[in-house]
């Protein structure tokens, strides 16, 4: 039997079996941001350690950065303290820092791929659970805690348990108006928010193979929402075409060598898996969450489930979710009034997301009373979108066009919900209070569904609004 990508890459990066039985794993690319790294540098200093491979760590600022103005010092002095800390830490230890002044700042999971730092067959770690995004390239990429950020700074390795591998096949043609975001919400809905614990998800099948790199990133991004720390797609020609010519991608004679390595780490045709799940693309509808975890999702035409419709173990969470969301069982999700619409984040803040939405919103207006934000994932995405005139389309439709950052995904910057506002959001988490107000409510969906909700002022079927 052949081997899967996860096992091949894992074995190539295994340094040693530790006394505990865990593996010491070499990390090829380490990405850091301002929230989970300063404490790690503090630990390095207090232990009098060095950063062993500063050239393998890259830094940016994304979580706390305001998206309405870049004026320094930031109004929030805690945010200012954090941005100063990461810059100083990078300078002291010789780490490349993509701050605003470089023109390359952005969400860490957007800039890694766009600069060609993210490559197949690597191990990639970052103090952020959405690091699974980078798996789109056929890398083993995962989120880590701050003590592990310290471990990588000091040793370029971490201690980790090997994961099992679940192959998720999605085959067939997606219906119009159904996107990578819907695939991932559908998978999480089926397998549950803890279904992936202990697993890496390998996504494959004809539907996945037909996805663009940016769509694959959206898909892998939310693996962790299904409990899987790692999600990946095998590298193929689409991967290579995306990487060719990017700043940090191999060049010249190295390019051919790189391709041969990248092909060698892809899963063998007869690879073994610990589990296999098959999904039909035609079964996937534009999907919307109604609850307080990303697994509480339904197709846009469905009604909010009743107690009888969910498994015994989910009943308690259903009651809690409905109470928090102020929604009612057996009612349609369509027609739920929204206050805020957010398009952006490491899930859906890339150029193709904006291009796709802009194609349809031309000529429409955001409904009165709805606050609608479009936030590019990186400064490069912003520049490219403006070059294509997309910002004008959004502004004419009544969306605010912002600077690059995490924005309203996670409430560490000024973009937040107020009170119990409901937000149609292209981000990745609908946890209680996630978007900054302890009573704020989040409905996750694809960017086009967010745009449709912004225009109608309520959750609606984008396929009908835009005649798809």
């Amino acid at each position: 039997m052949g081997q899967n990508l996860f096992n091949k890459v894992w074995n190539l990066h295994s340094v040693k079996t530790l006394a505990s039985g865990q593996t010491q794993l070499f990390i090829g690319l380490h990405l850091i941001h301002e929230v989970t790294s300063p404490q790690a540098f503090g630990m390095i200093r207090s232990l009098d350690l060095k950063v062993i491979h500063p050239e393998r760590t890259f830094a940016t600022v994304d979580h706390i950065i305001p998206t309405d103005t870049r004026q320094r010092p930031f109004k929030d002095f805690l945010a200012e303290e954090m941005i100063v800390a990461i810059k100083d830490n990078c300078e002291q230890y010789g780490i490349k820092y993509f701050g605003v002044e470089t023109g390359q700042q952005g969400i860490v999971h957007i800039i890694g791929p766009e600069m060609g730092l993210t490559q197949p067959g690597m191990t990639i770690a970052c103090g952020d659970s959405h690091t699974s995004t980078h798996g789109a390239f056929g890398a083993i990429a995962f989120g880590i805690g701050t003590s592990q950020v310290r471990d990588i700074l000091a040793t370029q390795t971490i201690a980790m348990n090997k994961l099992k591998v679940r192959r998720i096949n999605v085959n067939g043609k997606l219906k119009p108006g159904v996107y990578a975001k819907d695939i991932t919400l559908h998978i999480i809905r089926i397998l549950g928010v803890k279904g992936g614990i202990g697993y890496a998800y390998e996504y494959g099948g004809s539907t996945i193979e037909a996805l663009s790199m940016e769509e694959r990133m959206t898909l892998c991004n939310m693996s962790i929402e299904g409990g899987a720390r790692v999600g990946y797609v095998n590298p193929d020609q689409i991967t290579f075409d995306y990487l060719e010519g990017r700043e940090y991608a191999p060049k010249g004679a190295d390019w051919e060598k790189a391709i041969s390595y990248w092909k060698s780490i892809a899963s063998d045709k007869d690879a073994e898996y610990d589990d296999i799940v098959n999904i039909k693309a035609e079964d996937i509808a534009p999907t919307v969450t109604w609850g307080i975890n990303p697994g509480q999702a339904i197709g846009i035409d469905e009604n909010i489930p009743t107690l009888e419709q969910v498994e015994e173990s989910e009943k308690e969470t259903l009651i809690e979710a409905l109470e928090y969301m102020k929604l009612i069982s057996s009612q349609p999700i369509q027609g739920t009034k929204i206050n805020v619409a957010f398009i952006g984040s490491c899930t859906n803040g890339r150029i193709s997301d904006f291009e796709e939405v802009a194609k349809y919103v031309k000529g429409f207006k955001v409904a009165p009373g709805v606050r609608a934000l479009v936030v590019p994932g990186s400064m490069s995405v912003k520049v490219e979108a403006e070059k294509r005139g997309l910002h004008k389309v959004f502004e004419e439709a009544g969306f605010e066009w912002r600077e690059a950052g995490c924005s309203m995904c996670l409430a560490m910057n000024p973009d937040k919900l107020k009170g119990d506002e409901i937000c149609a959001s292209s981000s990745n988490r609908n946890f209680k209070g996630r978007q900054g107000s302890p009573t704020g409510r989040t409905l996750l969906m694809s960017p086009l569904m967010v745009a449709a909700a912004a225009i109608k002022g309520e959750v609606t079927d984008a396929r009908k609004v835009f005649n798809l």
């Binding site: 990066h13 340094v15 040693k16 530790l18 006394a19 039985g21 865990q22 010491q24 070499f26 090829g28 929230v35 989970t36 300063p38 503090g42 232990l47 706390i64 805690l78 945010a79 303290e81 954090m82 490559q119 690597m122 103090g127 952020d128 659970s129 989120g143 805690g145 701050t146 003590s147 592990q148 310290r150 000091a154 040793t155 370029q156 201690a159 348990n161 928010v193 803890k194 614990i197 202990g198 409990g227 720390r229 190295d254 060598k257 790189a258 390595y261 975890n293 173990s313 308690e316 969470t317 996670l410 409430a411 560490m412 988490r429 946890f431 209680k432 209070g433 996630r434 302890p438 009573t439």
Partner: protein
């Protein structure tokens, strides 16, 4: 680095009910604007414990009878969501020293182990039973015995329950042996790391 061998954790319990308790709930993101972990304890479960004006909701964690409780009991998929170590750090600074739950999210589990906070798994029924014991008898003495993989609960020195638990064996060994923070061991293998780098095409300039 010499670390404490964690063979047992003793303490009183506090029951935080619910499944899928995520890291945003354990420490809301707005309190993560900090460059050290020291001050996080007071914001632990903040929005669960306080209303929007900052008034106490008299949550279990704040009830007089649970003051000083160091063992948290909860439902399934505890610690899901973000990889932020701020969550276990907040719990640690809130004086939590062990967690009993039906299941744990993976990154959270690893982060806790690295801080020397054992996370042990029991069935839904047992989590509920232990939770109810702590509600009826907040001063019940709980011992999590990592060598025997047993939770022993006593009241006035007479036993009121013994339950077995599960924990991944390598986490258990590292806690019991005082090797739960692996940095020292990772540092000691740098020669092997160098050898490996030499064989990795991308780490070796594609040679």
């Amino acid at each position: 680095m010499s670390l404490k061998q964690i063979k047992s954790v003793f303490g009183n319990g506090v029951f935080v009910t619910g499944n899928d308790i995520d890291t945003d709930r354990i420490i809301p993101a707005r309190f993560m604007k900090c460059v050290t972990f020291e001050g996080l304890g007071k914001y632990t479960f903040y929005d669960v414990r306080f209303d929007e004006l900052g008034n106490s909701k008299n949550h279990q964690l704040d009830k007089l009878e649970h003051q000083g409780a160091s063992i948290l009991i909860s439902g399934s998929n505890f610690g899901c969501g973000s990889s932020r170590e701020h969550a276990p750090q907040a719990l640690f600074h809130f004086a939590i020293r062990a967690i009993i739950a039906e299941s744990f999210a993976e990154i959270f589990f690893g982060n806790c182990t690295t801080l020397g906070i054992p996370c042990v798994t029991v069935t839904h029924e047992i989590a509920r039973q232990i939770g109810e014991i702590t509600e009826q008898n907040p001063k019940a003495a709980i011992e999590i015995d990592l060598e025997k993989k047993l939770i022993k609960i006593k009241s006035d020195s007479s036993s009121i329950g013994t339950y077995s638990f599960e924990i991944p064996e390598n986490a258990r060994i590292s806690l019991v042996n005082g090797e739960w923070d692996s940095l020292g061991e990772l540092l000691s293998n740098q020669d092997t790391v160098k050898e490996l780098v030499g064989k990795l095409p991308y780490a070796n300039n594609w040679k």
